[in-house]
Amino acid sequence: LLQNVCILIVEDEPFIALDLAMEVETANGTVIGPAGSVGEAFELLKTARVQGAILDVHLSDGDVAPIAAHLFGRGVPFLFHCGLSLTPALKTQYQNASVYLKPTAPSNLVKAIASLIRN
């Protein structure tokens, strides 16, 4: 499903992060991360090229908005995977974004990001 595709995973909850990472690998994708913070994600994006991203919203060093903006600017598709809801700012900025509430099965998230990349 994700053959030859690099997926950035931003998620600070270790269990969810690793579970997602393994699901991406099961789908033959390459995992960039998981990054647990905005800073860590930016560090990874310096060297890695990604074709898609799964973003948790509330991270230890702030919300994920800077990463979303970075990806959006480069036309990289992403989806939000969040505990409660998007921040109001993210909601207005990315009105058509795919938002998945936790818990969502990792296999569904992988399917979703794969179809975003295809389109």
Binding site: I16, M22, G39
Partner: protein, 403 residues
């Protein structure tokens, strides 16, 4: 002129006894009744306006030149001070000024607990004359919240001497008592509201936490399923992790923080001990203290507690499977210190099977420990595979641990 060379004493300016000699001119009961009614109205609708209204009424009832309220403010290293509020009339520009608790007319009034009268107190209190304030005659009435708690004073200044009489003192005492009651009601109401808000915060946070817990458990189950080859193994891995969280929860204490939020905190040492305890109790252990725990007091927040609990659990599980805790006489040393706002924790194993070289494949446990330390806590974890035993260094910023 004769007084110029004599030092003015408190007795010279304090002339409360004069009040008894000055009989009230005909009491104006109607004005008094209207004033009380007015305060009562304010109390019901705008409790916060009771004090300014009291000052206004004092000005009217006493035909005063100026009036205001001094509220007592305790101070950490002194007996405190009074701050002037709601000033009206000639002295209005001094609103916000402070005066010392132990050297002021207000202080005397609160000490005596009754209305007092002073004549040109600036002769005695130099801070008054320094500020160029002259008070021909000033009547001070103590303000209490409810019956006992002194709050400050209401003070009323006359244009000329010989102004105040016992009637003024009586009426103002009554109005002040009424205002004190209003303030007590206001405070009770505020406390009630705060408690209700706390309750709501608690409920909201509980719901948030339960939701989060489900998400975490979900990930935990999925991940444990991936790592296990049999249902029995999965059950074992899963219950080990859930147990670690439950044990961590048991050392957490709840308390309300400064802003009404619920703060949860735990100490590092009991946490380390409770997580490692199942391994200490193992029947095959020959040494009674195979776990040595040592370090200063460190307070952990809720997230820090949960993360560290899981990390320590994974390390212990690993040690029991492959490392020092696999052998009957193996031991683990856990030491930590806090330096430059970082917790530096060392996990040192010895007495386990000799290590030939570092493992080539990273297990789930160490991946999880890595994610927790780096991703969740913004720290670092490094492994040193010494032949005599694994040594692990964990470094985590304190501010993240306490959140």
């Amino acid at each position: 002129v004769a007084n110029v060379f004599t030092r003015v004493t408190l007795e010279d300016v304090l002339i409360t006894d004069e009040l008894k000699r000055r009989l009230p001119t005909k009491a104006d009961y109607l004005q008094e009744k209207l004033a009380l009614q007015d305060l009562a109205w304010q109390m019901e609708d705008h409790a916060e306006k009771v004090f300014p209204r009291l000052v206004m009424l004092a000005m009217e009832v006493c035909a005063a030149a100026s009036a205001g309220i001094s509220l007592y403010e305790p101070q950490p290293n002194s007996s405190g001070l009074f701050r002037w509020h709601y000033l009206m009339g000639a002295l209005a520009k001094f609103d916000g000024k402070t005066t010392p608790r132990d050297f002021s007319p207000c202080g005397i009034c609160l000490d005596q607990g009754t209305p007092i009268l002073m004549e040109r107190p600036e002769r005695f209190y130099n801070w008054l004359s320094d500020a160029d304030i002259s008070l021909p005659e000033v009547l001070l009435v103590p303000l209490y919240v409810g019956k006992a708690q002194p709050l400050g004073t209401l003070w009323i200044v006359a244009q000329e001497g010989q102004h105040f009489d016992s009637g003024h003192a009586r009426v103002m005492t009554e109005l002040a008592a009424f205002a004190g009651l209003a303030l007590r009601m206001l405070r009770t109401e505020q406390r009630l509201n705060e408690t209700l808000e706390q309750q709501e915060t608690l409920t909201r946070e509980m719901s948030h936490r339960v939701k989060n817990l489900f998400a975490v458990t979900n990930g935990m189950i999925a991940l444990s399923a991936r790592a296990a080859s049999t249902p029995q193994e999965m059950a074992q891995i899963l219950s080990g992790r859930l147990n670690a969280l439950a044990r961590a929860h048991a050392v957490v204490r709840s308390n309300f923080g400064d802003e009404g939020h619920i703060a949860k905190s735990a100490e590092l040492e009991p946490l380390v001990r409770t997580i490692l305890q199942p391994h200490e109790d193992e029947p095959n252990a020959s040494t009674s203290n195979r776990l040595r725990v040592n370090g200063p007091q460190v307070l952990l927040g809720e997230q820090g507690t949960n993360c560290l609990a899981l990390v320590l659990h994974e390390l212990a599980t690993n040690a029991a499977k492959y490392g020092a805790l696999k052998n009957a006489n193996g031991s683990v040393n856990v030491n930590w210190e806090v330096a430059s706002n970082y917790l530096a924790l060392t996990w040192r194993e010895q007495g386990g099977p000799p290590i030939e070289n570092a493992p080539t494949k990273k297990g789930f446990g160490s991946a999880l420990a890595h994610r927790s330390c780096v991703g969740q806590l913004g720290g670092a974890i490094t492994y040193d595979w010494q032949p005599r035993g694994l040594s692990i260094k964990i470094s985590i910023p304190m501010e993240r641990l306490s959140s």
